[in-house]
């Protein structure tokens, strides 16, 4: 009798424990399943917005992923895009003694101008004048020349020189003859040979902006020319051009020549003093282009040239999304 009771109790407990374990596991499983079904990833709000892509298709996007941007203050009716900021003459100073080919300038520029081609607007050249002189890294962008060869040869006034010193491009006017590219001695202009394919990189909120020569690349237009614009869209908001901000080594200084002041975000200096102390010069001065970019020679270097070699990609300047 007792044996029977013991056995049956054991059997009962045995069964009971097994059942309990299964139930517990089942419970955990069920609850996890239900939370997965119901929960949203942490940041999504759950609301959907219907938006139109650049080629006209409608898609549903979670509303928290759509970032509303500050509409830049509507332009003054008197503001002439072809004349520019009053009383300014923008210049840039590049300190070759500090550059170690980090290429952060290039990636920031590529990102903020939605560059999708194979040729970046900001390139860091590996330079060596002759085999006995020392090599150095030289960031190159549009020099915004005061006697721009590119502007002189444009047949339709698509590229123009502003009063504030910038040379910009009206991509709605450009006929794609590429004479400006042939004329530029600094090889700084790039061409959109095919469709730029910016749908991925250009956020949909940019569609609110009407295209302007002051924000080159937003959007880029097939069959027209593009180049560095000295970021007037950032300067307008009181910010430095993206390459200046992105450089971790403080290589780029940007400012107004009339104010005789340039800044790299951390140091703010008198331009004339900087050029005098560090023997600033301009590239290809004897061509008479009068560029707005000054270079400080790579003397008293803070970094070793060889440190930049690991990032040097001879055949690539724009990272493709994969």
């Amino acid at each position: 009798m007792e044996d029977n009771n013991k056995t049956s109790r054991r059997k009962f407990l045995d069964k009971g424990l097994k059942l309990g374990l299964v139930t517990a596991i089942g419970g955990i499983g069920l609850s996890k399943l239900s939370s997965k079904l119901n929960a949203q990833p942490e940041t999504l709000s759950g609301e959907k917005m219907e938006l139109m892509t650049t080629d006209g298709t409608l898609i549903q996007v979670d509303s928290s992923e759509v970032v509303e941007i500050d509409h830049t203050k509507d332009h003054d009716e008197n503001y002439n895009v072809r004349e520019g900021f009053p009383n300014r003459k923008f210049v840039m100073v590049v300190d070759l003694a500090k550059c170690k080919n980090a290429l952060k300038c290039q990636s920031a520029c590529n990102k903020h101008h939605y560059i999708t081609g194979d040729n970046a607007w900001m390139k860091v050249y590996k330079m060596q004048e002759s085999k006995d002189t020392a090599p150095y890294w030289m960031p190159m962008m549009c020099q915004h020349c005061d006697q721009p060869a590119c502007v002189t040869v444009c047949p339709v006034d698509a590229t123009f020189k502003r009063k504030d010193g910038l040379v910009l491009i009206d991509n709605e006017r450009c006929i794609g003859c590429r004479f400006c590219m042939a004329a530029c001695p600094y090889s700084t202009r790039v061409f959109n040979w095919g469709d730029p394919g910016q749908e991925v990189t250009l956020n949909m909120d940019m569609m609110d902006h009407s295209p302007s020569p002051e924000h080159a690349g937003a959007p880029s237009i097939k069959g027209t020319v593009d180049k560095c614009d000295f970021c007037p869209h950032a300067v307008k908001e009181g910010e430095l051009p993206h390459c200046v901000t992105a450089c971790p080594n403080g290589v780029f200084y940007f400012g107004d020549k009339y104010e005789d002041t340039v800044t790299n975000g951390e140091e703010t200096l008198r331009l004339s003093k900087l050029l005098e102390d560090k023997a600033g010069y301009r590239l290809m001065e004897d061509l008479g282009t009068a560029p707005s970019v000054y270079y400080l020679p790579p003397t008293d270097r803070l970094v070793d040239f060889k440190d930049g070699l690991e990032d040097f990609k001879e055949f690539e300047s724009v990272e493709k999304p994969e």
């Binding site: 049956s8 109790r9 009962f12 009971g16 059942l19 309990g20 139930t23 517990a24 089942g26 419970g27 955990i28 069920l30 609850s31 996890k32 939370s35 929960a39 949203q40 942490e42 940041t43 709000s45 759950g46 928290s64 970032v67 509303e68 941007i69 500050d70 072809r82 004349e83 009383n87 300014r88 003459k89 005061d146 006697q147 721009p148 502007v151 002189t152 006034d157 123009f160 020189k161 502003r162 009063k163 504030d164 010193g165 300067v235 009181g238 910010e239 430095l240 940007f254 400012g255 107004d256 020549k257 009339y258 104010e259 005789d260 002041t261 800044t263 975000g265 703010t268 200096l269 008198r270």
Partner: protein
Amino acid sequence: MKNCKNKYFVLLVIFSIFSMFTGIQTLNAQTTEKNKVRIKADYVKIMDSISYLDIAATSRIEKQNTTVSNIALTIHNETEEEEIEIGSTITNSKGKSRFIIKDLNTLKPDSTFTYTINISFKGNDAFKKASRSVSFKNAGISATISEKDSTNYISASLSDLSTNSPVEGESLTVQVQRLINPLKIGEEFNSTDENGTILVPIESGIPGIGGNLNIEVVLEDHDDYGTVKKIVRAPVGVPIVEESTYDQRTMWSPRNKTPWFILIFTNLLIFSVWGIIVYLVVNLFKINKS
């Protein structure tokens, strides 16, 4: 009988284990969803103008610091007795907001002449509630320009306006307003003397529109007073000289400013050649007629 009781008991245990696990899961899911918001606020006072709070909301999401935009914040003036709501604001797309305090006299300080402002966020689906308090005393800077031995000087005094006493031993920054970042003049540290005053020479040859410079004397981010800024506009600079060729007729000007030589020469050529062409075509018509 015993078996029955046992059965029920075990079933109860099983049931409670089940619900416990489910409950813990759901609880966990809920608490891991919301993020913490960090609110930062700086008090800035511009002399003879407004004061404001520069507010920034950030959050650490997936180990990255991101700005929190579009959240509603309520601003309260806290005193020892009460909390008065003085306004509200919403952070912009960069997670920032500037709350302007038009007149400091509308706020109530406490017994130590300290004003306390509280910025609170009541939370939403994505973020937990948060708040931040900023305390500051009312300081003021006055500044004047003087000239001695053909050098311009700016002298500035820092004083606590609530007690009307000068503040000694604090470093003021003296700088000229420029395009993006201001240009510092004077020493790196200009400490106020026992009268709360500093005297800084203004280097010559700083260019400004019409020779005018906007000079700022700033108490940067002080623990007690926040940031206080005094702007003086004075003709102590060198007038800027326009270098642009924009208004001239050059080879790189737009078409409405073509150089005279090109304009005249090409049009002369075009009109004479095409004039002759027109004459020739007229001849063709004449031949046809005769």
